[in-house]
Subunit: 215 residues, 2 copies
Amino acid sequence: MITPQAIATYPFLGELSPRGGRLAAAGAELRSVPRGVRLLRKGDRIRSLVLVLSGRLRVFTITPAGDEVTLYQLGPGDSCPLVLHALLEEKFHQAWVETDRAAKLLCLPASLVRTLYEDERAVREFALQVLSGRIVALMTALEEVSLNSIEQRLRSHLLRAADERGEIETTHAQIAVALGTAREVVSRQLERLRAAGLIRTGRGRIVVLRPRALA
Amino acid sequence: MITPQAIATYPFLGELSPRGGRLAAAGAELRSVPRGVRLLRKGDRIRSLVLVLSGRLRVFTITPAGDEVTLYQLGPGDSCPLVLHALLEEKFHQAWVETDRAAKLLCLPASLVRTLYEDERAVREFALQVLSGRIVALMTALEEVSLNSIEQRLRSHLLRAADERGEIETTHAQIAVALGTAREVVSRQLERLRAAGLIRTGRGRIVVLRPRALA
DNA sequence: CGGCATCGGTGACTTTGGTCACGCTCGCAT
DNA sequence: ATGCGAGCGTGACCAAAGTCACCGATGCCG
């Protein structure tokens, strides 16, 4: 089912031909997923294209040694370029994906996406924009990792992770994993930010008080 | 002029419609560029799509502080996804590009590329593959930077930079810039690799002796 | 209420890699 | 030959951040 909400988030769904629209409506599946669920593993064969209607996904890799690197996050309107890559080239998926917050997802089966990609200009446009847009995000991440100190990276992580009210439900350990560092380091840095009055901390909870100053 | 060499390197050039082929042949320009030339700067408006026939380009960003980060390299058959992004979305270019070795380039003017992109299926396919393929490369780079020690990054840099005979014409300082570190660090690491018998060093020159062991 | 797991704070130490300050040597031009 | 600049080698030092060990606080659940 293609809801108005879905079209609002992914305009290309509304630009399909009548036939394409019917196909999409018939094949699409709406899923509600709680937080912390692992949706894809490295090496999985992609079975459907995931569109994010609400919530957020985190895309990351895990090394042989068990360290994680967050590659990027996907919010409403985004789509995973890796999934597209895997779908269109029929390769295996190269990273892990899990829900960062509870999320509503619209899943389009792989075969359907391939058909639509061939026939529908709007889908091709969408694919192109997903891919080229994500490249910019990846570059930014690369720049950030290789140039910035842990403190700066933590700051931008907090800003990204905060909801509208500046609140974040997470533990120090989770942040450490996302940044690829150790919990103690995160704790110490948070303590410094707290002392500077930029955030408030609590068990499993951080509140960003002065987002501008944090940036 | 579209040479057979160009078609061999970029098959899509041979798959154009007769009309598209004529347009491309009329608009394409062949350039030979020596090593170390800066082709694009951040913020430039893209004037043409660059296809690499031989040699290699390096794509990187520079921070306000003057540090560089190498994003990726482009060899024959590759094309710059950022350029494509900028071209198709009519944005500004987000990174610097310079020749890593002397290179032969085929340049297609921006307006031509946009026309071909609309009309030619082969060009759309090419664009998609450039973008999705490069995403994988960027992810690998991100993983490498955030997980590996300088020594490991240096090792893979040497492997990538070496020609068929394992030779590299570069200075320690250049490597340092490419890896975003200091010359002294590179010198020390190279000394260790040399002591281990993996490479031979000379003024402005490094020879990879045992590529397998280096990896 | 008591037990227990999760979460977070802290001090001490190590490692990595960046910085500073030299000084040497090779190749080239005058 | 002399001088000079680019490239390289090296030791001493410093700062950031990862590691280890440990403990206290919190909250949940039987």
